[in-house]
């Protein structure tokens, strides 16, 4: 007998887990397939978890999920070679009963999420790579082929939750190959530090409180990219990510970029004495709205990173992944209840739900940002260093009068950017992209 499921979910990251959980909970028969040894085995990074998206799937997740710290403070840094100018926001309001953001370690979190998925009734098979989709004569997707013996497995729908560089959709001709200027390559390390040291260094009241630092400027060495640093319970996650095509062009090795970041005088003291535990490199889809592939077809749909659902400006990904997974599941549950087949036409339901959600709205809002940054690198180089110079001159007491200092700072900025007109146009472009 061949096996037939209501749905097959390819991938056990946040998007696949969300989709499988919601469907299984509603009584659909769900098979989830991941190539890793166990869910999360390929996702060994620290990250920010946005509570809201998960809360809508598992309301009481805080009772059992492995959470590191909740974020009470956010720092934004503009880096130049030896300085940083920053803004920070900290609030005791973030010490709420149900905190809004947490730092997590993905390996542990994904494992926990997967356990909930199985408890909800989905079947998971691991160490199994989906090789291809099976289509019927009419071109409708009816199942998957794996790298194991035993033939195809069939389902009414295949949910592609295979992440940014998943090749199943590409191989089946459902989505185009990703372009190097539509993905960032992020390298990240986890550094071990005793809990008390983290608390002291980041001025934290408790072992549950955490800090996030977001960095632009010299951290990306002229490429389009950002750096970040999070505090976990007993470790610090630090990394940089830049557009892949920029790495290819500048030939700067990613780990060297990260090393420079770690040696920066503003960063080095935070990491002093820490022991490096893990090093990972991973792609992040950052092409934004215009890079989103076709999301549905007869018998299949795409969720999560595979659909380019990442808001690079706000460094949000897993929440878009979970939300798209949930919306896909809810759509499929409804189709099943109404006895409707999973056709591209009927999947308009999913496309509409997505369009109505923050996922598509935010991606649309920042639609122009990827293009803007790609074409206006000065935004990430000239301005941060000019700003740092200006601040230094402003603070240094050296017998020069203040008016002269201000004029110098402005002249410096004008010179760096080559004229006021250029600056005005930069401002206009940023405002337009942000709107």
């Amino acid at each position: 007998m061949t096996d037939h499921f209501d749905a097959i979910v390819v991938g056990a990251g946040p998007s696949g887990n969300a989709a499988a959980y919601v469907m299984a909970k509603a009584g659909l028969s769900v098979l989830q397939i991941d190539r890793g040894e166990y869910p999360g085995s390929k996702n060994v990074q620290g990250a920010i978890l946005y509570s809201d998206a998960l809360e809508r799937i598992i309301p009481d997740f805080r009772d059992s999920a492995p959470l590191e710290r909740h974020v009470v403070e956010q720092r934004f840094w503009m880096l130049s070679e030896k300085s940083h100018t920053g803004a920070q926001y900290r609030s005791d309001d973030f010490n709420e009963e149900k905190p809004n953001r947490y730092t997590i370690l993905r390996a542990q979190f994904d494992k926990w999420f997967s356990k909930q998925v199985r408890a909800a009734g989905a079947i998971l098979i691991t160490e199994t790579t989906v090789k291809d989709l099976v289509k019927n004569d009419a071109g409708k997707v009816i199942g998957v082929l794996t790298d194991r013996e035993g033939g195809p497995i069939f389902a009414d729908v295949v949910v592609l939750a295979e992440g940014v560089n998943g090749v199943v959709g590409q191989r089946a001709g459902l989505r185009p190959e990703i372009k190097p200027n539509h993905v960032a390559l992020a390298v990240k390390e986890t550094h071990f530090l005793p809990e008390e040291t983290i608390r002291e260094r980041f001025n934290l009241a408790g072992e549950e409180d955490g800090v996030v630092i977001e960095v632009i400027g010299s951290v990306s060495s002229g490429m389009v990219g950002t750096g970040f640093l999070y505090t976990n319970k007993e470790s610090i996650s630090i990394g940089v990510g830049c557009i892949l095509s920029d790495f290819a062009q500048t030939r700067v090795p990613p780990y060297e970029l990260l090393d420079r970041f770690k040696r920066h005088p503003s960063v080095a003291p935070l990491l002093k004495g820490a022991e490096m535990k893990e090093y990972v490199a991973h792609l992040i889809p950052e092409g934004g709205y215009d890079a989103i592939p076709t999301l549905t077809g007869d018998g299949w749909l795409i969720v999560g990173d595979a659909g380019q659902f990442v808001n690079a400006v706000h460094r949000e990904g897993s929440n878009l992944a979970m939300t798209s997974g949930r919306l896909a599941a809810e759509s499929l549950i409804q189709l099943k209840a109404e006895g409707k087949p999973v056709t591209n036409e009927n999947l308009k339901l999913y496309r509409d739900k997505l369009a109505d959600s923050f996922v598509m709205k935010d991606l649309k809002k920042y639609r122009k940002v990827p293009h803007l940054l790609e074409r206006n690198r000065q935004l990430l180089t000239t301005y941060p260093s000019a700003l740092n110079r200006a601040f230094q001159s402003f603070l240094r007491v050296d017998g020069v009068d203040k008016r002269t200092k201000e004029a110098e700072a402005l002249r410096d900025l004008k010179k760096a950017r080559g004229g006021w007109l250029r600056m005005a146009s930069d401002l206009f472009k940023v405002a337009r992209a942000w709107r």
């Binding site: 096996d3 194991r148 005793p194």
Partner: protein
């Protein structure tokens, strides 16, 4: 007169054919991923992935091969905490037919004596259902490393024990006999034994198969039988766990490195013989006593 009562007999079950094999597997921390806490220098077990003791996979594969050739069933048996069910499910995905976990607070802290006692009880209970032809274990584990559990079971169950087996040459179901190769010091022994027997399998003797899609689906859906000490047939709980374990770990420490430094010596020579002679001259020059001992022994 009453009608004669005709007993409604269930149709007799077909007698089970083929071999009944049980493979003992242990879930162990993946030693490749164990981390030492940089501050307290203790092993951080939390978050360390667990795996099936790698040696046990050679036992499992050998059992599956015998089943495929002679028919029958392979049951995997483990003693451990509830999460050891993961290891058993994995074994089902590799092709095992049934899985039994014996888990009980009273098993905690078992040394090899108590472990083989508990496993023997479970094996005996399993054998009541259907006599066992072969019990397999791995040669040893990667965390305890004692290689005692297999022989301990064999002794208790009164089974012939075939240890360090590198290959199974032949098996005769009708005559209840088996011929195996066993690695021993100085050579390979070919042993013939009666069934039932216990085999501890040597490493690198085969390659564990990849289960098929159907194996994995079956494993994901299968119920792992979970037994408490009582259900496993343990009669004397004093022989279990910490209380049944005479072994006491007094201290764990990393041996300090030897004081004397190793040194690399270089000698010249055109042929291997010349190099060898030059090396021996050098060593003898350094240590005249060694020369006396060696030349005396050579005479």
């Amino acid at each position: 007169m009453d009608e004669p009562i005709i007993e409604a007999l269930e149709p007799p079950k077909p007698a089970p054919t083929g071999l009944n094999i049980v493979v003992c597997i242990k879930q162990v921390p993946d030693s490749a991923q164990i981390r030492v806490h940089p501050v307290t220098n203790t092993i951080m077990r939390q978050g360390v992935p667990t795996i099936i003791n790698p040696y046990d996979l050679f036992a499992l594969e050998e059992a599956l091969r015998l089943r495929d050739e002679y028919g029958g069933q392979v049951t995997v048996l483990s003693m451990g905490p509830p999460m050891a069910e993961d290891a058993l499910r994995r074994a089902l995905g590799l092709g095992a037919d049934k899985a039994v976990l014996i888990t009980d607070r009273r098993f905690a802290g078992s040394d090899t004596l108590a472990t083989s006692f508990a496993l023997t009880a479970a094996l005996t209970t399993l054998a009541e259902e259907r006599p066992i032809d072969i019990v397999f274990t791995g040669k040893q584990t990667i965390d305890g490393d004692t290689a005692q559990v297999g022989p301990g079971i064999a002794r208790r169950m009164g089974l012939n024990q075939l240890t360090y087996v590198s290959a199974i040459d032949s098996l005769d179901l009708a005559a209840q006999g088996i011929v195996v190769r066993r690695r021993s010091e100085g050579g390979v022994q070919v042993l013939r034994s009666k069934l039932p027997c216990l085999i501890t399998m040597l490493e690198d003797t085969n390659t564990i198969r990849r289960g098929t899609v159907q194996d994995l689906l079956r494993a994901a859906r299968a119920d792992v039988t979970v037994w408490s000490a009582e259900q496993a047939g343990v009669e004397d709980p004093m022989k279990c766990g910490l209380r049944g374990s005479p072994t006491v770990v007094k201290r764990v420490f990393a041996p300090s490195p030897r004081a004397e430094k190793a040194e690399m010596v270089t000698v010249e020579g055109k042929t291997p013989a010349q190099i060898g002679d030059a090396l021996i001259d050098l060593l003898f020059a350094r240590d005249p006593k060694l020369e006396a001992v060696v030349t005396a022994a050579a005479r």
